[in-house]
Amino acid sequence: MTEPAPQDKTVTKDTSAEPDGGRKAPRVGVFVCDCGSNIAGVVDCGKVREAAEKLGDVVVAKENKYTCSDVGQAEIIKAIKEHGIERVVVAACSPRLHEPTFRNCIQQAGLNPYLLHMVNIREQCSWVHGHEKAKATKKALELVKMGVSKAARLEPLEAREVPVEPSSLVVGGGVAGIQAALDLANMGFKVYMVEKEPSIGGKMAMLDKTFPTGDCAICILAPKMVELSRHPNITLLSYSEVEEVKGYIGNFEVKVRKKARYVHEELCVGCGVCADACPVKVDNEFDLGFGQRKAIYVPFPQAVPLRYTIDKEHCIHFKSGKCLLCAKACANNAIDHKMKDEIVNLKVGTIIVATGYETYVPLRKGVYKYWECDNVITGLELERLLNASGPTGGHLVRPSDGKRPEKIAFIQCVGSRNKKIDRNYCSRVCCMYAIKNAQIIMEHEPNTEISVYYNDIRAFGKGFEELYHRVREEYAVEFIRGRPAKLKEDPTTKRITIRAEETLLNMITEREFDLVVLSTGLIPSEGSKSIGKTLGLTTTPDGFFAEAHPKLRPVETALDGVYVAGCAQGPKDIPDSVAQAKAAASSAAAPMFAKKVTIEPLTASVDEDLCVGCGLCVELCPYGAPELVTVEKGGTKARIIEALCHGCGTCAASCPQKAITCKQFTDEQIYSEIFAALGAEDKKGEGRKKAEAGVS
């Protein structure tokens, strides 16, 4: 942002520096917006304008059909010049929408951009009181009155520019994270990728084929994984977790815990001799318990980095201090059981959160008997059973006896669209992965009978409907519209009987199946929860990260410099995840290309004469902005590191000495609004003192 231009000649009075008692009234201009019929359809804007004109301090009040339009803005500029307006009140929509517009506008007219106050008479008035027009008008009047009162007390502020570190942290090494990292690295930025598992690849690496085209998931993902690991601009920190993030856009300081994998990454060549020597066999998490691995392992053959990791929980050495067979087998002496966690400190300009999803785990005593019956599996487990590099080599078998299932049922919407378990949303991928898996099974074993129990089939993407059509037409997969009510297992044959209403036939059906696949939905991952806490990101009610705007800012978060990609933001398929990752990379690149960003000057500041150095603010601040410093006069005082301050006001509200002030939200400004609302005059700050006595 440039320096404000010198003020227009008609603006002669400079009142901002005057203390409250001797405050000279600044000249206030009020601009009431109709917003088409959005506001004027409910609020009588003409009446609001008239009333505003009569308020003290107000020298001009105007009404516009669209204040944000060029015409509306021109009128503000004209009024500032003609009437010598020093403070501008715009009664329109939320400041989140047009505050920047009007700040720029008044700056053009020579005013400091922070001498603007927006009164929200749309979201907070006309939209919520649509049925009570008279009352809405009255409320708008009151809000404008409060706004004028505050505006008269606004002080000019200067925005600051800070440099942006040309490097990025990508949290999560699934397909979204991989794509975002590659895009940023190809733009020439340094990228640090942090992945908590021993290998990147995420959930996509577990899948068999991808819908609707049937590409092998790992075949299309592995080249990207390899490219990432070899990219000169990317540092891959696998088996690591983000522990702490400090700072702000352009200047984040990140502490990453590199967990001890007990194998030196630079020495290990991934030959696997150690795993051959290891005597311990445990269930492989990557195969969801169907396959086995050793205590020293790579999760899957195409793992990146192809470096072995010791599972401390199961390794004999960590239990008895003996064994060490792997270390003896390793020709490169890469294995070191004494390895310790390592802390890596990074400085990055932007952060992309791509922490993905987890699949819903069916209830313990639920209707679908996932925990009781062997032959009830989830969709992701089926992916592993169908996968050529999976535990069965791609042969679909019944878990109970290893035989080929002849009749298979899919149950849709398990853990999705269910208010009872607080999962109200549609997981978007279950319909298509069930249809895709039905196709794969039919291709492998054409004699299989498949039934899909569904509520609604959502085949919305490119080529999805065509695939849905094909499995019905070509493979005669049967679709039953109804949610299964009861599952019963035959104790000897282990076959499952499903009772459901075929709602389109209006009949109750009971049918027996060899295998039941639950199409489980997507839920926020544990990794998302922890990084969300570390960064202080907000989530939507479903638990996924909230984007800054659901339509227009889909990859930004409420935190500047932090972007979100993939399923961390909400369930989505691979094409959407990749598209969002590319969008996040491009958004994150913008400030890094610009090399600097403008930071709002709305920060807290400490009056050192009042501060007693109690340190409460230091404890309460979620951003680590206040620090205690020893002053020359002796004693400790709090000081705000402005670059870290987000202006949230927690410190100002909690300071027992009232030593902290939040710029543009000073006590004086807030009390003046309250008094305006109550219809009382706050002359010389008397009312404020009274109110404080009353409040405290």
Binding site: C413, R417, K419, K420, N455, R481, A485, E501, T503, I508
Partner: protein, 192 residues
Amino acid sequence: MAEVEKVFISGLHEELAEDRVINEKDLDPEFAKEIRKYGGKNVMTCLQCGNCTGVCPISLKIDYKTRNIIKCCQFGLKKYTLGTRWVCATCYRCYEHCPADLNPAEVMIALRHIAVREGIVPPFVKIAATNLVKYGQSVKPDPEIDKIRVELGLKPVHADQERLTAVVREIQTLVHATKYDKLIGIQEEVKL
């Protein structure tokens, strides 16, 4: 009698089959609101998944489809829904399983309220209600049973006549005050 009873317990299927085309005139757009007024919430949120029908113990015995009735409620097909719905045992199994978190059993109760207010009362309900007002219980006391009980050395069901009279009077006062008797259409002579 049996024929009349059948109308009140059978499902919607036959009724709907008789009318080949549903005319817009037969729809009551305010029906869902009316149901909500009598305690049947969230009717419009039903996904029509059929889980309620599948778990309903009644649906296994007779042609009674919970989902179908809810659909009629959504659609405003009032005329089909009022004659029936007395078979629901309000076991709440449908509510337990419903993913849309609506309570079909309470919708059934609301439908009964509405039906009675429209003067549609099945004979067996009238009989039970009359018994309640007359004897203080919905089943008519049978002297034969008392005889057997005495033979077995047990007290008759209503040994304490005085207390029973007090109870019946209490019920009658309440019934009268709430205009329940008029609503159900209980005859005057029933009263003590």
